[in-house]
Amino acid sequence: MGKRVAKEVSIAIADAVKLARAEVIAAYPITPQTHIVEHLSELVANGELDAEYITVESEHSAISAALGAVATGARTFTSTSAQGLALMHEILFIAPALRLPVVMVVANRALSAPISIWNDHSDIMAERDIGWIQLWAENGQEAVDLVIQAFRIAEDRNVMFPTLINIDGFTLSHVIEPIELPDQEEVDAFLPPFKPKYKLDPRKPLTMGPVGVPEIYFEAKKAQDEAFKNTRRVILRVWKDWAKRFGREYNPVETYRTEDAEVVLLINGSQAETAMTAVDKMREQGKKVGLMRFRLWRPFPIQEFRKAVSKIPVLAVIDRALTPGGVGGPVGTEVRSALYNAARRPRVVNFIAGLGGRDVTVEDFEEMAERAAFYLKKRPKEAYEMIGVRES
């Protein structure tokens, strides 16, 4: 059995990458991801992790080097935040199209300007359509578990897609908390070595990433889309196996006290924990409030999501990013779209909260639940409402 230790979440993530026996790490340091890659470079320099650590001059190079490495059949990890993720943008799309299963942790941070090193989800929401499997961790334990699971999911021959794990910058990355790190033997038993069917090898030359002329591009994208949707089966299977081995369950849509709930809050990431405390408090006061969050964000778990909300009167979606001039926050827009043709659907109210490191408190969640309850009888008029922003 693993050992329960007190660890900063970033350090635990680096330890999880070591437990997964990553062979190549290519990364460029950026706050608040820094501790993850610093610790990895230490582990490599100390000889504790037998991997190649490629220091690069930018995130664009970090992801490029990572893709080159994974193309040769090496288990590869990278990590970034905010502007770093934005700088990776053009290369991010190439990874799934070439079916290169790199694993990345994104320590979520606001995009500039104004310059902010603090947490929100604007970095990852700008990368919704890159075609990577996208997961959310709520606490340090989940971050560790998801990193190890991500390699197995990504590298499965029926998947072969890059996979990223979102962890909230600072509010999760810089927190010391109790985490159970699995033993090496347990991880080895769970995670087989990476053996891709095709890899770059000078002895057996092949081409990756040739031009897609109009006669083939569309078919290639359709094939990619189909294959991406099919990853769901593998993801569910991996989580089932994880639960059996480690006793911790993972689901595409996680719910908390949603049975009989009139209002359900939906928020991704670590602040769902604060929301849980708010839900407990409100339940004690007899208010029928529940909580849900996406564990799996891409591919979007539409079946599980529709089922989870089918009996809920009001769903309050809390976005931590803006879609300027849009019809809601990115999660709110997506959720409304997913429900539009559903036979049974809740009324959806969309809040924007916690931009650029603004704390989202238990009180804020109570306020949102209260405002949402107002819409049990009335349709919301506004596309979204902002919470916790000073008006004067």
């Binding site: 329960r4 230790v5 007190a6 900063e8 706050t31 608040p32 090193i117 603090w118 947490n119 909230d168 600072f170 509010t171 999760l172 810089h174 927190v175 010391i176 908390e177 109790p178 670590s270 602040q271 924990e273 604060t274 849980m276 405390t277 490191g357 704390d359 989202v360 408190t361 238990v362």
Partner: protein
């Protein structure tokens, strides 16, 4: 659940103190979390760090707004930061100061609650040879609150400081001796 807020200046080790408390609590099988007031900390600038210790799983990611315990690592801070802000009734304020009780209570705006005082800068200078007061203030924290076992805190110090642990343990022990409690 007990919530702690630490005030210091960048470089004094407020974050390390917070971490050591949380590590000790977790090692004695409690639940705990420690985190800094996130930002680009600069040496000498006022900083904060937070700790939560509980017997049950902690599901909170907000800052500590209503601490049970406030620890202040730097003697000049109470005059420029409202260190008692949000302090719970019956809570502790633990100060590094050479001043007397009356002066300190006035400095804290007429604060009437529980107060622990130690001249941590003096101890740190004498024992460590540096004005870094974090481990010394942990001694005052232990004496006033008993929130974690001394044994686990010593272990955490050893793990963190290696060959410098002995001096830090000595500074902590002297603070336990010299801290005055006014309740």
């Amino acid at each position: 659940m007990i919530e702690v807020r630490l005030h210091g200046r960048g470089g004094q080790g407020a974050v390390t103190s917070a971490e050591l408390i949380a590590i000790s609590a977790i090692n004695q099988n409690k639940y705990a979390q420690a985190f800094p007031s996130f930002g680009p900390e600069r040496r000498g600038a006022p900083v904060m760090a937070f700790v939560r210790v509980s017997d049950a799983k902690i599901r909170l990611r907000e800052k500590v707004y209503n601490p049970d315990i406030v620890v202040v690592l730097d003697p000049s801070l109470p005059t420029i930061v409202n260190v008692t802000a949000g302090l719970k009734e019956g809570g502790w304020v633990i100060l590094n100061s050479s001043k007397d009780e009356k002066t300190l209570r006035e400095m804290l705006g007429g604060y009437q609650g529980k107060l622990a005082v130690v001249d941590a800068t003096k101890i740190a200078m004498e024992v460590l040879g540096l004005p870094i007061t974090n481990t010394t203030m942990l001694g005052a924290f232990l004496k006033a609150t008993g929130l974690v076992d001394q044994k686990y805190l010593k272990e955490a110090l050893e793990h963190r400081f290696g060959r410098l642990a002995e001096k830090n343990k000595a500074a902590m022990a002297r603070a336990i001796e010299e801290t005055k409690l006014y309740t």
